[in-house]
Symmetry: C2
Amino acid sequence: MWQRPGGGGGRTRVITNANIIEKGCVNFSAVHGLLPEKIAAQLNLKAAHDFFATGVSIVMHPHNPMVPIIHMNVRYFEISSGEKWFGGGIDLTPHYVNIEQAKYFHQTLKGVCDQHHKTYYSEFKNWADEYFFIRHRSETRGIGGIFFDKLAETKEITLIERFEFVQHVAETFIPAYTKLMTENKDIPYGKKQKKWQMLRRGRYVEFNLVYDNGTKFGLETDGRAESILLSMPPEANWVYNFQTEEGSEEEHTQNLLKKEIDWINF
Amino acid sequence: MWQRPGGGGGRTRVITNANIIEKGCVNFSAVHGLLPEKIAAQLNLKAAHDFFATGVSIVMHPHNPMVPIIHMNVRYFEISSGEKWFGGGIDLTPHYVNIEQAKYFHQTLKGVCDQHHKTYYSEFKNWADEYFFIRHRSETRGIGGIFFDKLAETKEITLIERFEFVQHVAETFIPAYTKLMTENKDIPYGKKQKKWQMLRRGRYVEFNLVYDNGTKFGLETDGRAESILLSMPPEANWVYNFQTEEGSEEEHTQNLLKKEIDWINF
């Protein structure tokens, strides 16, 4: 439980060295106050406005490199100018890509999306591909998922319908990740797999600190650093110019860290 | 040896798992081309300009937590608009602050500065305090040092005099760090010190990826990611809400990660 000096606060829950999860967190926050200048500029707002933002963020870093890292976020934002919108998404970062599980993961997200709008999946899947792209590495963070932002009311879709969709996304997290944990948690691994996991976690750190808007927003609005940076893995490594071995599982995964892969029909 | 697609290139040299240094790098680069839009905006330049930038960067991450991390950078920048300037600095990030060595380090830098201009040390020492500040943690990266940028020609100081100063800074790096390595490399340490080192390295990662202009400039000008990110430690850890023990050496160091400490007269 923490308070934000500028208004509001949140609750942070952490799990460390559990059976499957090495470090995991659930962050809830509901903050408000004067919209920070930098954020106002990004939103093309001239005058000073108040804002209210609330969200839930989850990141899980497993012990076993065969279990993927997962991230889920749902959020709601409103500004005193009258604008209000939802955002969020779920994405998966396997240290080792398992094609069947990637299909399952995207099929599940498509199932959720399709119940709410026929263009949601293709739109939000592409958005995740763009968003979770580590530009300086020319690679995606993982196999993506769905990402969406500024889902406001339209003539066609009410704000309540947006909310129902976002709720449905949140509810999908537990069954989907439980299946992936259960299927992979007992797969044996050795030093090579652990080393690769540490390098992939290094990329995770790079993405979150260099590109992630949620992290930037949090740090720029004087959010609680310890909560915001809970997405950091417990341990990460950097090795200069690491190259995967030809024909290895690591190379297989590296080659799949690309945008625009149609996982469902892979 | 690497080439930059937009023009120029560089040389990267790495040392890993040496006797004292776990991971160290020397990066030389000389790049040119069209000034990227983002950088132009930061410099308040409207039109498209060409730039040329060259520099040497050094970062050393030692095995022994009692040996400090060091960083040195010297750089030269020119734009087709006619502007040209030098920048650079040296700063020290001890995992454990040793007051005598902090005094020695700052005294050495003051000695160099004083030979070139009477205001250099106080000006550039304060600049380092401001620059190497991890805002979201409200702590400095280490004990600072000197940092300077945009040292252009003035009525009082020629560009050649600026260059002589920058050369002098670069030449100070080897004797100063050699002394610190030599004095500390055989100090015994245990798991507790190693754990603390990994947390301090985590902060080093946070600073470099969130705040460091050199890193941002490199990534935004399509520099070579593997070279730019050589400043990353070989391994870093993040522990939620870590608190130092009362009266411990770690607490002593944590309390000294502040701006405006007068190390020379400590």
